[in-house]
């Protein structure tokens, strides 16, 4: 059974000892962009990682990159909309990693309808299925486990797009707003049990997803910068952050634009 604790291609994970403690993190949506950047950051900081993505090849490549010196990451190809796969896969991951204390949910898709006069239910459905229901499929059993363990940290990547419903992409706004509310509810449930729930709201980050965005993308940052911000917030066990930080002020203004004005705006 020992040999099954790591995938055949990657060898064994180093044992955790008091002088080489290893935190164990699951990163869902790890193959590129912010997920890959965060995986690299966590590996550098001494975490043992389980990485999930539906893009098998990219995930493999990231794993081989991280495992050059010693095995720290194991890959699990999986599509988060395959909800029924979650329980068994989660149990396998916990067994392989030798525990679990941090989970980051980054998986997300963005399909803009293609203009402020266009409507597309299929796109909207897909975004809610991945960004929101996919997250709930994973975080529900994880929340239950952390609740019992009275320990752990859940990190969810929302978006500034979830702060206000706007003309451009109602489905995306909804999925991210729903996710933020779900995380808030988990936070209110779990903080009293010693579990930290961190909501991250990035502005524009230079990833594949950004290419799909419509209109201007001001203040876009590199995914590595976002990963650094997320890591810092995790260490400080913060509740909610914007990355970069100044989006907090921008969103404060946007959130407080009265509806009678917002209705007339075209962003």
């Amino acid at each position: 059974m020992t040999n099954q604790t790591a995938s055949p291609s990657t060898g064994k994970l180093a044992p955790a000892t008091p002088l080489n403690p290893r935190r164990r993190a699951l990163v869902i949506g790890a193959s590129e962009g912010m997920g890959a950047a965060l995986a690299r950051k966590l590996a550098k900081e001494g975490y043992t990682l389980a990485l999930i993505s539906r893009q098998k090849d990219k995930l493999q490549a990231l794993c081989s990159e991280l495992n050059q010196k010693e095995t720290v990451a194991i890959s699990y190809p999986h599509d988060v909309t395959q909800y029924n796969e979650v329980p068994a896969l989660l149990q396998k991951i916990v067994a392989d990693l030798g525990g679990l204390d941090t989970v980051v949910f980054l998986a997300g898709v963005n399909f803009p309808p293609g203009g402020i006069d266009k409507y597309n239910f299929e796109y909207d459905k897909k975004m809610v299925e991945v960004n929101l229901i996919g997250a709930m499929a994973w975080l529900t059993p994880i929340a239950e486990m952390f609740h019992q363990a009275k320990a752990g940290q859940i990190v969810g990547i929302g978006s500034v797009a979830g702060d206000r419903g706007r003309v451009g992409n109602p489905g995306y706004n909804t999925s991210k707003a729903g996710f933020a509310t779900y995380l808030e509810a988990l936070r209110n449930r779990l903080t009293r049990h010693g579990v930290n729930v961190l909501t991250v709201k990035p502005g524009f980050v230079k990833t594949e997803m950004l290419k799909a965005a419509q209109g201007g993308t001001p203040f876009a940052i590199e995914p590595e910068k976002a990963a650094d911000d997320i890591y810092k917030a995790m260490q400080k066990r913060k509740q909610m952050i914007y990355t970069p930080f100044f989006w907090r002020y921008i969103m404060f203004v946007i959130q407080n634009i009265p509806s009678f004005i917002f209705r007339k705006l075209s962003f």
Partner: protein
């Protein structure tokens, strides 16, 4: 998911720790109170492709009772004393019975467990798995030598009975087997007759390591117990104090019924009758650093210079670790680890002089040093030698981990080069390579064969097992 009660029995996802609070692992915990619980845990493990480790009180300093991501079988509530015969001194217990339950049961009748650990919180299942020793190891050997019989369930599902005569290979393998061959279900032990609730204790100082070890060796034959405290922060390497104790002979105690009484044995929960000891560890915290420990040790040594004798209850003499409840909390966030090495009497002085000097040079002194006298035993994974042991407690911090790790690896090298051994209720950093060297390939091979026979599917695994046999 796995936590659903029907799906996955009564498991609770739990973050468990070692005794020193320096290592954490999350596991699916199952409470075991019957043989059926053990059988179903094995079935579940097989079905879900998980591993199982038994855990009693969780008092080991390392990863012996941790199984990150797997099943932990918590036996602490499986704790009935099934049969006690005050005429023969034989006692049959469930595996979760603690040394505390045991001595409190037998002592009022004039008996005492022949081997006890420094804390009374340990369970007998755990004590047998690691084959614990006490301050009388040079005379009474490890606890395994006082086991008359035990029953166990193997991962194959077989229920077996072992004694030194019956299934002897399993008897000598499972005791000391780190819980990796089967799960104890009942343990029969022979207690030792005592004629008083008190011991005579002689305390005297020793100025250096040479006289320290000499005192242990020369005095051991004349006493029933001997233990040394070693000032780990002093540049006079090895200075300290010896406590040697003797049982009282029949008739020496005029009124043994009185001294046997539990109220004269149990440790008081308050200091001066008012100050609760349960919060004492909080006040120790400011002293648990290099400077504070140096101050405390120096003061302790000066006080110990007065040679004296006194009478002390068994409870007070044996269970030093229980004096201050939760004392290990005073080591702070990073917790502590213990490093215990066993060395033949010929090389002990040379080796410990080196490693104690190294620790001072690295400014990583141990905060507690305890020495004992030992003799070999015939259990399979034995840590004993004809010589001495030195146990060192180190504080772990975010800053010192790396440096402490390389220092301990250095210690390991020096110790195995000089015929030393380690004890796996304690050491947390010893690697598989080092383990193979000191046990010897033949012993490791013998153990693996036994493991294959008892556990062909590899269901029993702990973090410790993966570290030292992985």
């Amino acid at each position: 998911m796995s936590c659903k009660k029907n799906n996955f029995m009564r498991t609770t996802f739990t973050q468990l720790e070692n005794f020193g609070h320096s290592l954490r692992a999350q596991s699916f915990v199952i409470q075991a109170r019957t043989k059926d619980d053990v059988h179903s845990a094995f079935r579940l493990a097989k079905e879900k492709n998980l591993t199982v480790t038994a855990r009693g009180a969780g008092r080991s300093y390392n990863d012996a009772s941790l199984n990150g991501g797997g099943i932990v079988l918590d036996t602490s509530a499986w704790n009935l004393i099934q049969e006690w015969n005050p005429h023969t001194g034989q006692v049959r217990c469930e595996p979760g019975v603690t040394i505390e339950q045991l001595w409190q049961k037998v002592e009022p009748d004039g008996w005492w467990p022949p081997v006890v650990s420094g804390t009374m919180k340990t369970t007998l299942g755990g004590c047998l798995s690691t084959n614990i020793h006490g301050k009388n190891n040079f005379q009474m050997g490890p606890i395994g030598e006082h086991v008359l019989e035990f029953t166990a369930i193997l991962p194959t599902g077989a229920e077996i009975t072992c004694s030194p005569k019956l299934n002897a290979d399993l008897f000598y393998g499972m005791i000391s087997g780190l819980g990796m061959l089967g799960i104890f279900t009942s343990i029969t032990l022979q207690m030792k007759r005592i004629y008083s609730g008190l011991l005579t204790v002689d305390a005297f100082p020793v100025p250096n390591l040479h006289s320290h070890l000499f005192a242990l060796q020369e005095n051991a034959p004349n006493y029933d117990y001997i233990v040394g405290w070693l000032d780990t922060t002093s540049s006079s390497i090895g200075r300290g104090q010896i406590h040697a104790a003797k049982y009282l002979h029949e008739g020496e105690d005029k009124n043994p019924q009185e001294t046997f009484k539990l109220k004269n044995q149990t440790l008081p929960s308050r200091i001066f009758g008012v100050f609760p000891k349960s919060i004492l560890h909080f006040f120790m915290k400011p002293f648990v650093n290099n400077f504070g420990v140096w101050g405390v040790n120096t003061a302790k040594y000066i006080v110990s210079l007065r040679k004296h004798s006194f009478k002390e209850s068994h409870g007070a003499f044996h269970f030093l670790l229980d004096y201050v409840p939760n004392w290990e909390r005073s080591f702070g966030q990073g917790g502590l680890i213990q490093y215990q090495s066993f060395l033949p009497k010929e090389t002990a002085e040379f080796v410990w002089t080196q490693i104690l000097k190294l620790s001072l040079k690295n400014k990583l002194p141990a905060y507690l040093g305890v020495t004992k006298r030992h003799r070999p035993d015939k259990f399979l994974l034995s840590h004993a030698v004809d010589g001495f042991s030195l146990a060192l407690d180190f504080k772990v911090t975010d800053k010192n981990r790396k440096k402490l790790y390389s220092m301990l690896q250095e210690f390991d090298k020096i110790i195995i080069a000089n015929g030393g051994r380690f004890y796996f209720a304690k050491n947390s950093e010893t690697t598989a390579e080092t383990t193979k060297i000191f046990y010897g390939e033949e012993t490791v091979e013998k153990f693996r064969k036994l493991k294959k026979r008892c556990d062909p599917h590899g269901l029993l695994e702990s973090d410790l097992y993966r570290r030292i046999f992985g």
